[in-house]
């Protein structure tokens, strides 16, 4: 009998990112939700190339730094922004300089595409969007007549499944069975269900089983969906993580200002990534 405990899933940060091949499509969480910044830095260190990012559904620091470091060839997102700190400088620069392909989307369209993969269906309908210019540039989206229409000419958008190679995120902890505490951040479950494989970093491993207790079970993303776990203290830094730590606003301000120029951004990488 093989043991299914977390031991089979635990690996080093370096080994974990070694699994993520150049050219992979990777789904990443929004900036408020368990962003795997330490994994991101490890991807930059291993010189990942041609990553195709899918933001679920928007992103900020994580995508900006990956784009700035030259790891990204394509991004699908409803928005890329540093929030209160303004536009994402490396993203903005890369768009102007035609360095990356951009698939502009809208939040519920990305959720719907991921849900299609979660359900194993090839597409998902969605209301709205018809009349938006977003649609003009999405040759992969289709308009169809609603086959259940009550009025004539009831057009509806159909979105193809988004089936990323990998989902990555950082969580407060894993239990001894490899279940991941995600609390109410259920977009992480959706990402994981939709992706072929999921790699997670955690602050710690706790000697408990979330599923043993009905009070804690709802917090768990079952290990069934997890392909590798690594332990990183402050793995979301400089972003915050649930109740554990807040975003490091001073550092984020520093990033927002250094990322404005290519040379300062390189210095940033030297100071905080290649260390």
């Amino acid at each position: 009998m093989k043991s299914l405990s977390i031991k089979n899933l635990l690996t080093s940060l370096q080994n974990l990112v070694a699994n993520i091949e150049d050219g992979s499509q990777i789904v990443i969480p929004p900036d408020y939700s368990f962003v795997p910044m330490e994994i991101t830095r490890a991807l930059i260190r291993k010189k990942a190339r041609d990553l195709r990012l899918v933001a679920a559904p928007q992103t900020g620091l994580q995508a900006d730094i990956l784009i700035g470091a030259g790891c990204v060839s394509e991004i699908e997102a409803a928005a890329v922004s540093l929030g209160e700190l303004g536009n994402a400088p490396r993203f903005t620069e890369a768009i102007k300089a035609k360095k990356i392909e951009l698939k502009d989307s809208t939040c519920p369209a990305i959720h719907a595409g991921l849900q299609a993969s979660e359900k194993g269906i090839p597409f998902m309908p969605l209301r709205g969007i018809i009349g938006s210019d977003i649609l003009k540039y999405r040759n992969d989206w289709k308009i169809s007549e609603n086959p259940f229409k009550k009025i004539s000419n009831d057009s509806i958008l159909l979105l193809p499944a988004i089936h990323p190679d990998y989902a990555i995120f950082h969580a407060p902890y894993a239990d001894r069975e490899g279940n991941i505490w995600i609390g109410r951040r259920r977009e992480l479950a959706l990402m994981s269900h939709a992706a072929k494989k999921t790699y997670v970093s955690v602050e710690e491993v706790r000697d408990t089983n979330l599923l043993d207790n009905e009070e804690t079970a709802a917090n768990a993303l079952p290990s069934l969906y997890i392909n590798g776990i690594t332990i990183c203290k402050k793995g979301s830094w400089p972003l915050g993580l649930s109740d554990l730590y807040d975003a490091d606003r001073n550092h984020l301000q520093k990033y927002a200002s250094q990322a404005r120029s290519k040379s300062d951004f390189s210095k940033y990488l030297e100071s905080y990534v290649f260390v």
């Binding site: 929004p30 408020y32 939700s33 679920a56 559904p57 928007q58 997102a77 409803a78 928005a79 890329v80 922004s81 929030g83 209160e84 700190l85 536009n87 994402a88 993203f91 903005t92 768009i95 102007k96 300089a97 035609k98 951009l102 502009d104 989307s105 809208t106 939040c107 519920p108 369209a109 959720h111 849900q115 969605l126 209301r127 709205g128 969007i129 018809i130 009349g131 938006s132 210019d133 977003i134 540039y137 009025i151 004539s152 000419n153 009831d154 057009s155 509806i156 109410r184 951040r185 259920r186 977009e187 992480l188 479950a189 959706l190 606003r249």
Partner: protein, 246 residues
């Protein structure tokens, strides 16, 4: 921070909050500190009615079904009001959150459309909010339609524009005429300043009122509990615009 800046902030929060009374549920999306504060003011600090959901907040957000819940909830008809901004807004109530110039490699790139291309269709009362009121932001025709103000007949659209609130005035969206009309002027503004600074045409009714100013009680709340609550999600805003430190 300047006193006039704080006064304007107070005014905008109260103006928007008065549009939210008698609703069941108001949701506030990304980059929307003033609408967020307004919703809290309307609801009595998020504890009364309307219910308030502020995205990115842990304390003023009862969602437990992940990022999709906002959109599902709106699709179910359970969100009565939402806010959209835009780098550009035009007289057809189109909003542009994507950029200026030719897509995709635009001269100025904004963050992106967020959920606008959906929520604008399904939320009954969408309040457009854009502080900068110049012919640069309120344009004749947006460069990119993130979400359109108007839709062809037969396209499912229970929702749409309700009004446009700027640092100078309030426009109401006229459903029948399908255009904006000037509704109220903030202190210091005239019919002429609005016309001069607006890039699109709009109806100017005979009677344009002055925007109702905040009461002392409203001001107190804004700088008190509301400021603290909004600082959870928008610390820089709370500090610079409300003089509330988190």
């Amino acid at each position: 921070m300047s006193e006039s800046n704080i006064k304007l902030t107070e005014l905008l929060i109260t103006v928007v909050s008065r549009m939210l009374r008698d609703l069941n549920h108001v949701a506030v999306g990304a980059s929307s500190p003033i609408p967020g504060a307004a919703a809290l003011l309307a609801s009595g600090l998020g504890k009364g009615s309307p219910k308030v959901t502020i995205l990115g907040s842990k304390s003023v957000n009862s969602f437990t079904d992940g990022g999709k819940e906002l959109f599902d909830c709106a699709g179910q008809g359970r969100i009565d009001a939402f806010f959209l901004g835009g780098g550009q807004i035009d007289g057809d109530a189109n909003v542009n959150l994507v950029g200026i110039g030719d897509y995709p490699h635009m001269d100025v790139r904004f963050p992106g459309s967020y959920g606008s291309a959906y929520l604008y269709y399904v939320v009954p009362k969408v309040i457009l909010f854009r502080e900068e009121h110049t012919s640069r932001t309120l344009v004749q025709k947006v460069d990119f339609i993130s979400a359109p103000g108007k839709t062809e007949k037969n396209i499912y659209r229970p929702g749409g524009p309700h009004s446009l609130v700027t640092s100078r005035c309030v426009f109401m969206w006229e459903k029948k005429a399908q255009c904006f009309s000037l509704h109220s002027l903030h202190p210091g503004e005239t019919l002429q300043t609005i016309r001069k600074n607006t890039g699109f045409d709009y109806i100017e009714p005979k009677k344009v009122i002055n925007t109702l100013e905040p009461t002392e009680q409203e001001k107190k709340l804004i700088h008190g509990d509301i400021g603290k609550m909004i600082a959870e999600v928008y610390p820089s805003f709370a500090s610079s615009r409300l003089a509330v430190d988190s």
